[in-house]
Amino acid sequence: MDKIQERVLEATIADTDVGQGKQEHIPPPTNSKNNPAKPSLYNMTATAEIAMLKPSGNDAVEAKMKTSSSTWAKSSNKLEYLFYKTLLTILYMIYACVRYAKYQYNRTKIQILNLAYSPSNTPQLIRQDVLKFQKLPKRLATILEFKSEGDVGGGLGGLINDGSELVTWSISAGIKHLTLYDYDGHLKKNVDEFRKGIHHKLSKYYGPSNVPKFAIRIPQWNKVYFNLPGTAPSDPDSKKVALEVSLLSNRDGRETIVDLTKTMADLCVNNEMKLSDITMKLVDSELTQLVGPEPDLLLYFGPSLDLQGFPPWHIRLTEFYWEEDNDQVTYSVFIRGLKSYSTCKINVGK
């Protein structure tokens, strides 16, 4: 069924807009822009305000407030409402205090771990760390975040730095497939700079004379790039790569599934395909071709797990790893993720 794939690719390639601007990503409540778990008095007062002033989420409460007839019942109802709202606010404040204490604990833990695990630009150390594990994921995926320009490690430069660091660690650990996902597809759009960034980082670890080879695949536009921009692709050795990186964005998620559906609908309507040809197997193989295979381990470097629209078909059995309250791409999270994967047990259905 190559026809389907071609047609879907036509649609996705034509869509140079990789998701940005179409809709702003609204993160889950625990992952708002300013880390909400960070202790701050402002957060506490803000929560108290909203808790007191916003109407309740429960319909029964609202109905009760409206239906009471006599003035006496009304005012006693209001009093009760106020009483419970106050208790709720107190509950929130208690929760906030506990959470903030936990935040401090988590941050200290992360600081100590960062000291303990440091690759210090040496691939041997990374390989040594990995050798202790019983198994490694065949395919690793990570979700990266574009931080605002003003922040430390923010902007495009920061994103490319994080991405190329992950590439270097993966190569050193011996992983063959790496998927980098960022919601707006900044890496996709700036693939040349990213290639330079990777090359730069790799030459720091391996020395400029024998930089490992890598390939970058962009499934949305069906393109593959090898090594640095401008190097001769005719060299047969340049295609023997140590690592294949694929770059995904929000466009590869739900929208690709919609495109696939549209294409199959078109083909069915024009009788180029039978309805009974559409099977689970076909859908799976098409999506694997169009987006890539399912990763074994998904690393997230934010404060609490947020999948940000990572292709839904591809997280079926994927293990997730993230470090609570962490907000940086660091080696300690990377290696601890691999460690947790090495001990996990997978038994499909049994």
Partner: protein
């Protein structure tokens, strides 16, 4: 084990959320092991904890006090924002049974009880949709004995829940039951029974309970794709009009198919295992808990919801920019001081004094 007697005693007739265990644990219970055997020790501790807690709850007053406190806490919590769609991956029933030295069936039964407790909580809070992963398509790979146990347990529990759901006195009244998934894989007999039960509770409006049996999320997505294509072919729906919301609406969870606010997975695994992929991958929260499902307690769920509601308040503030100070000031300005900005006409101002230049004088 006498299933019927069990459930009548256990369930929550008078607003009581804590199951009242009458039957003591029997058969081969774990023995105290050597101090060096960590796993055996853990098992033993779990058993002892469960046993002591149950005998504690058996005292009438204790039970009453606890359930009163719990109801009060729920009354408070429902004043805040609440998730609309919560779903559970009920993992750990078998490990629970094993650690208490009971047959596997016992674990599944305790799991079903925990589910009833949690659904009662959700209903009281005012959460509109609850979905649970009861049985995966992959679970057919399990030993046939266990598959049969699970299937018959489902049938039993369905009747039990449906009776409560149409009984005005019960605290599950107003519940609507739906069994979703690849229903063609289960026997016709059971299918008829399910359809019957679904019809019985069709009137329920307060809360919808989706029991996913046998279900996988990929199967759900695949069905949505297939049905959309079918609609294009036979119902003249133009293919170009397909979009995310059209495909979502073909999925099993009716109007909640697009989003799940909160997925809770118990017993420590950090993956989704083919559940709620489409619903949670955009901006849902996934909570992983170390507890085994039958041990999943009121307080644990309470804290998860409290956390959700706390952070949602904060996000509401961030998204709407609602501010008490600004609102109050604006209100005061508008209503207390009659200060309004009016356009000024230059010509209406009084004439300025005479212009005199110093330079011109010399």
């Amino acid at each position: 084990m006498n299933m019927k007697g069990d459930s009548d005693d256990l369930m929550t007739e008078n607003g009581n959320l804590t199951p009242n265990w009458k039957e003591p644990l029997k058969s081969d219970v774990p023995k105290m092991s050597a101090l060096t055997d960590w796993e055996g020790l853990q098992k033993y501790m779990h058993y002892q904890r469960t046993r002591i807690w149950r005998s504690f709850l058996a005292i009438f007053y204790i039970n009453w006090i606890i359930s009163t406190v719990q109801n009060l806490m729920l009354d408070i919590l429902m004043m805040g924002p609440l998730p609309r769609h919560v779903s559970f991956i009920m993992d750990g029933n078998r490990r629970y049974a094993k650690s208490l030295g009971q047959p596997i069936k016992y674990g599944h039964e305790s799991g079903a009880l925990t589910l009833m407790k949690i659904v009662t909580m959700c209903k009281k809070l005012g959460i509109k949709t609850v979905s649970v992963y009861a049985f995966s398509i992959e679970n057919f790979n399990r030993p046939p004995d266990e598959v049969n146990t699970l299937t018959s347990l489902l049938a039993e529990k369905l009747n039990y829940v449906a009776e409560r759901a149409i009984d005005v006195k019960s605290n599950l009244y107003g519940l609507r039951l739906r069994v979703v998934g690849e229903r063609s894989m289960i026997s016709k007999e059971l299918n008829d029974k399910i359809t019957n039960v679904e019809r019985m509770t069709d009137e329920g409006e307060d809360i919808v309970l989706y029991i996913c049996f046998p279900y996988t999320s990929r199967n759900d997505i695949f069905h949505a794709i297939y049905d959309s294509v079918e609609k294009c072919k036979y119902h003249a729906l133009p293919a170009s009009s397909l979009d995310v919301s059209k495909i979502s609406s073909e999925m099993f969870f009716d109007s909640s198919s697009d989003k799940c606010d909160l997925v809770i997975r118990t017993s420590g695994r950090t993956r989704l295992s083919d559940f709620m992929l489409w619903q949670v991958h955009e901006n849902g929260i996934i909570e992983f808990s170390e507890t085994l499902w039958p041990d999943f307690s009121f307080w644990e769920f309470f804290v998860i919801i409290l956390k959700w509601s706390f952070f949602t308040c904060l996000q509401t503030k961030e998204l709407t920019g609602f501010s008490l100070r600004k609102n109050a000031l604006g209100f005061a300005k508008q209503h207390l001081w009659l200060h309004r900005f009016e356009p000024v006409v230059l010509e209406e101002l009084p004439d300025p004094p005479e212009m005199v230049s110093i330079i011109d004088r010399s």
